[in-house]
């Protein structure tokens, strides 16, 4: 007997055709393209709030807005507004423009600016630096200078239980931790208070999230707002060596990444995929208590798949660097003219430096006048 193949929708994303099952979102389709060909990693829209394993996440940060230039084969009208790709499902014959549409790129610049508006930019002292989604997003799409001259909002640091610290000042209100808390507890103990730019993540009247899986809010946080108190200020991620390991844990899957400094395990996290997402949550015992090599069975070095500041170091060998950043750089800056003759003769150097000094003096005189 023949099984009927499920009907697939054909969509065009940035000029690339792909067939996906109905119900797929634009974001998932784009990620599928990138997963098939790692050089197309940069085509996937950035996601600051969408987190695939968390039901209900997405649609809030507006970083993944894309242009749908044809709604479907049946109704090829373009959608009037930019749509969030993380929650918009595909239609057969849909044409989506992401990096190829100027309005999308321009809007994304605006979103970075908005997200950074009240962000303290304390990356030099932030534990998340190096694996921060906002850092990557700003690196790719941000402007060099801020246009914001006013005071930024600030909050006091807050402890959520013995292991997690909330640094609300850094929060971009993606709601990921709220969805995580909803998923791991059956009570609404963790949510958002207040409104607008004074909204804050909070636990119900300073009540800690009392749950074996509460540590996972650290992993889902895209920025350094929720940090691991056992790891705070211990090290920079790019100095650590991530190693995949597992153990027999009765509460969770036991599949983790150990972060080494020398021979010492200084941090344990869940395993993140190339999109920075954790598929299998780990328990607090694995995360905060098992910090000895003898607790674990080592599998081997972690493959840093996500394009991020962290892979700019030694782990990039087998990966191609996305071309997008370079392309932008090439279009914005002139290449340095390095065609001058290579001079080693001392007297010629002296002559040349005299000439250069004279030129520089003339320039400064002209500027002063």
């Amino acid at each position: 007997m023949e099984t009927t193949a499920p009907q697939l929708f054909k969509i065009t994303f940035d000029g690339i055709e792909i067939e996906v099952p109905p119900g797929t979102t634009i974001m998932q389709a784009a990620r599928k393209i990138a997963e098939a060909d790692p050089t197309k990693m940069h085509l996937a829209p950035p996601a600051m709030c969408y987190y695939e394993p968390l039901k209900g996440s997405g649609g809030k940060c507006r970083a993944c807005l894309v242009k749908v230039s044809a709604g479907s084969a049946k109704d090829p009208r373009p959608m009037p507004k930019l749509v969030p790709s993380c929650i918009t499902t595909v239609q057969d014959g849909m044409i989506v423009e992401n990096t190829t549409n100027e309005a999308v790129v321009e809007t994304r610049k605006g979103i970075v600016e908005f997200l950074l508006l009240n962000h303290p930019l304390d990356c030099p002292v932030c534990d998340q630096a190096g694996e921060c989604h906002l850092q990557d997003f700003a690196f790719e799409h941000g402007r060099v200078q801020t246009r914001y001259e006013e005071d930024r909002r600030t909050f006091e640091k807050q402890d959520i239980g013995p292991y997690v610290q909330l640094h609300m000042t850094r929060c971009i209100l993606c709601y990921r931790c709220v969805f995580t808390a909803d998923q791991i507890t059956n009570k609404r103990v963790h949510g958002v208070m207040n409104r607008g730019d004074h909204a804050e993540i909070s636990t119900y009247i300073e009540k800690a999230i009392d749950n074996d899986f509460s540590g996972n809010v650290i992993d889902v946080c895209p920025v350094g707002a929720l940090t691991d108190k056992t790891y705070r200020f211990k090290n920079r991620v790019w100095f650590t060596k991530p190693v995949d390991a597992h153990c027999d844990c009765e509460k969770c899957s036991g599949k983790v990444t150990l972060w080494y400094r020398g021979d010492e395990v200084i941090r344990v996290t869940a395993r993140k995929n190339e999109w920075g997402e954790v598929k299998e949550f780990i328990c607090n015992t694995c995360r905060f208590e098992r910090k000895k090599t003898s607790d674990w069975t080592i599998e081997g070095p972690m493959k840093v798949a996500r394009y991020s500041v962290i892979m700019a170091n030694k782990y990039r060998a087998d990966l191609k660097k996305p071309e997008f950043g370079l392309k932008v750089a090439a279009s914005q800056y002139k290449q340095i003219d390095d065609s001058r003759p290579f001079v080693t003769d001392n007297s010629t150097i002296r002559e040349l430096s005299k000439e250069n000094n004279a030129k520089a003096n003339q320039r400064s005189l002209a500027e002063n006048n």
């Binding site: 600051m48 997405g58 649609g59 809030k60 940060c61 507006r62 970083a63 807005l65 507004k81 930019l82 969030p84 929650i87 809007t107 605006g110 979103i111 600016e113 908005f114 997200l115 508006l117 009240n118 246009r147 914001y148 001259e149 006013e150 971009i172 209100l173 709601y175 949510g191 958002v192 207040n194 409104r195 607008g196 730019d197 004074h198 909204a199």
Partner: protein, 446 residues
């Protein structure tokens, strides 16, 4: 005398009691609808009437009703949006406190048409006394057999619930309202799915404004065609306009759609002109969120014709020379109004009311508020004016709900039409920061 649909009996003493309302011909629409019509016939009449949503967007009500999904075994809900919080709009408040039975009659007829057995009126939390009035009216209607089980012996059940809001402007957005009604934080939902498919408790839901629903008894009694005969073109029927500002007679007026703006402002029947000794400078035609227009543009279109009080005429020329009818909050300003200060007041409101869910609105409204505050207090520079335009452009259309647009439009429009006042604030900070200081340079007054 123009036809009055909503405010005909509003000045009758005791109209808020069941007896007087019934004596004035009230609840006949319920009798007619439940006994002589089928739900589909009512929907058809509403469609024929061409009545458009009175909450601000102006979406045809009949079409909204026909989009309602009707899956088997799933309850449907009707929710009345009485969370009127837009600065400048106070028509629903006026209607509900004076004639609560009109809304209740409309709710019964509409619920029957949509097949809802439980309907909600979500009232702005600040209007606690209106909630008491509505609840008393519901008790009276129940006692008379117009609400509850087996209404008028027709076998139709309807429970009507009045729910006070928590005091957030954002809960006037339909999906935020539904979230709030479900007992959650009032954050707007992403659309699609629209409430007509997945609304309250994930069931098909229609959300309508108080004024829209209050029109239904008249449509049932007189037919959709009679309603469509009023008004001009696709702007049918009458509209409540709440007038505030520098006119002789501020208040709530029911106008037939299609009169000229000039008539509306200057005729004795309506606003009665600008207060003595002053001149018209600008008008915000549909509540704080629509673009402000200077005097010459509000009275005439770009082509020189007179502008009418209709959805189409007010939005003629797009945002370059037009505005919107919106929710009918008509704010009139004379030459003593400082547009910069006025814009700052609006911006502060949207900053305060942004729910903080999506980033452009959360951060952008605060930013615009702060920059405007700086300009108003003589600390701005020319760059800030362009910055405001750019920020407004980055917010517009990129947010989950229309609050972002509502925050961006008035600021962009104020700069579009009154840029010289912003520049004056930058170049003359000492003059501009004096108490009550207003730009006295060239102004096109009428």
């Amino acid at each position: 005398m123009p036809v009055k649909i909503l405010t005909e009996h509003i000045n009758v003493p005791g109209i808020d009691t069941f007896e007087v309302y019934r004596k004035m011909g009230g609840y006949t629409a319920v009798e007619k609808a439940l006994k002589k019509m089928t739900p589909d016939e009512i929907v058809e009449e509403v469609k024929k009437s061409g009545v458009r949503g009175r909450g601000g967007a102006g979406f045809p009500m009949g079409m909204k009703w026909s989009f309602l999904a009707k899956p088997e075994g799933v309850p449907r809900y009707l929710v009345c949006n009485a969370d009127e919080s837009e600065p400048g709009t106070f028509k629903d408040h006026y209607l509900m406190k004076n004639n609560p039975h009109l809304l209740i009659e409309g709710m019964i007829v509409s619920s029957f048409a949509l097949g809802a057995n439980k309907s909600f009126i979500y009232v702005r939390g600040e209007l606690m006394y209106v909630i008491h009035i509505l609840e008393r009216a519901i008790e009276e209607a129940k006692a008379a057999g117009f609400l509850g089980k087996n209404i008028l012996g027709t076998g139709y059940d309807l429970e009507l619930v009045v729910q006070p809001g928590g005091g957030a402007y954002i809960c006037g957005e339909e999906t935020a309202l539904l979230e709030s009604l479900e007992g959650k934080r009032g954050n707007p939902r992403n659309k699609p799915p629209f409430p007509a498919v997945k609304g309250l408790y994930q069931c098909p839901t229609v959300v309508n404004n108080v004024e829209s629903i209050s029109n239904t008894p008249w449509i049932v009694n007189n037919g959709g065609e009679a309603y469509a005969a009023l008004g001009v073109g696709r702007s049918t029927g009458t509209k409540l306009i709440s007038v505030s500002g520098h006119v002789n007679k501020p208040g709530v007026y029911e106008i037939p759609l299609g009169i000229t703006v000039e008539d509306f402002i200057y005729a004795d029947e309506w606003c009665g002109g600008i207060r003595p000794g002053h001149h018209l400078k600008a008008v915000v035609a549909g509540g704080s969120s629509v673009p402000i227009l200077p005097a010459n543009l509000i009275l005439t279109l770009a082509n020189g014709d007179k502008r009418l009080m209709t959805y189409e005429s007010l939005s003629d020329g797009g945002f370059a020379t037009g505005t919107m009818l919106g929710s009918g909050g008509f704010i009139v300003m004379d030459e003593t109004t400082c547009i910069v200060r006025n814009t700052l007041t609006f911006a502060r409101f949207y900053h305060h009311e942004s729910c903080g869910q999506c980033s452009p609105c959360r951060e952008g409204t605060g930013w615009m508020d702060k920059v405007l505050d700086r300009i108003e207090h003589g600390k701005g520079n020319m760059r800030d004016i362009d910055l405001l335009v750019d920020v407004a452009k980055k917010i517009e259309g990129n947010t989950i709900c229309p609050l972002g647009d509502a925050a961006a439009w008035p600021i962009a429009a104020a700069i579009r039409h009154f840029r010289h006042e912003f520049e004056w604030h930058v170049t003359h900070p000492l003059e501009a920061t004096k108490p009550g200081a207003v730009y006295r340079g060239e102004m096109e007054l009428v």
